[in-house]
Amino acid sequence: MSSKAKILDLAGYLPPNTLTNADLELIYPDWPAEKIYDKTGIKKRHIASQDQTSVDLAIEAAESLFRNGKVAKDSIDFLIFCTQTPDYILPTSACLIQERLHLSKNIGAFDINLGCSGFVYGLSVAKGLIDSGLAKCVLLITADTYSKYIHPMDKSVRTIFGDGSAATVIGITEIGKGKIGPFIFGTDGSGGKNLIIESGSNRSPIDLNSSIEYKDTSGNIRSKKNIFMDGPEIMRFSLEVVPKSIHALCIKAKINLNDLDFLILHQGSGFMLEALKRKLKLDGNKFPICIQDTGNTVSSTIPFVLLDLIKESKLKSGNKLALVGFGVGYSWAACMIEF
């Protein structure tokens, strides 16, 4: 079956409050600003305000997209919201977004609970809906506010993650260009414990023990209500899984790695990206690293890279891109898109 889906437009939103390396240096005196940048590739992260949720970020990104004028609200017939920090356990946050965006009531809408792999998974679902004739115009929004779960004295994650949102519309291509696919998917739940918020849901409800703070061997402080990330294990997973996924994708797409115009990886950290760039032996011009001013915005990192490339006029019609999302879960997915 020939694919009909293509990306029609994108927009992003970053909350105005920022956490810079200079701010972090005041909190962690043994980590000067320069060292933080050297180790993470990040200079600042945007942080949602106390009363700003992922749904608020999603609304901002979506309204920004509609202001572009390429896609009308009433053309949207499906909404996918990818987040791991929803407004409520129930109701579904996508339903709330439908209402606040004043989208038609005659649309489908659901949440996807995925992190770093979420944008690629979201694209796959959008493509499936369109190619099967179930939808014509899908609004995929990614948004997270990990900052709300990070302990202020846990530099292992506070230096890495930033909040943000991206809105992408996937519609029907009329001129045969802008294909999405093929896809490679992967899941390994044995890695679930390595990037986790332990307490706060049904497996480990909030109790008196949830708030007990402890210090790890690297001096980071957190409780079970906070995000825990095993950095070494995440690095090991990334080095093992990402090259194999790219290789599998290239075989499926019948394309050589070096024939890609761009390879866009989830922007987990600058250090990880540099390690993967060396491992893949790819031309740096084809391997964008755009984490400096946003930090790791979870499922929004890949669309933010696309937006950066568009802004810098680096993307040309017909460009072949590989997108690879990987991380929390463990979950990963890779796909080809023709811009």
Partner: protein, 75 residues
């Protein structure tokens, strides 16, 4: 490769390369999760082996890291 590995360790440990030797105790440097992450990437780059963080965190000296690398190469 070993020289490249020692040069990389010197950068991670923030000490002069001349001090890197198999008997260097990891208690003499900051052997934290960041150093371990960097060592995982370095071992992969130099020897094409991917070490795990828990085994590395149990290392007491540089030679223990080298033993892990040799074991990984054999498997």
């Amino acid at each position: 490769m070993l020289e490249q590995f020692y040069a990389g360790l010197a950068e991670i440990f923030e000490i002069d390369q001349s001090k890197i030797n198999p008997n260097l105790s990891l208690e003499e440097i900051i052997w934290d999760s960041l150093a371990i992450v960097s060592t995982i990437a370095l071992a992969d780059e130099c020897f094409e082996v991917i070490l795990d963080g828990q085994s590395l965190s149990s290392c007491a000296k540089v030679n223990d890291i080298q033993i892990l690398i040799e074991k990984a190469k054999e498997s």
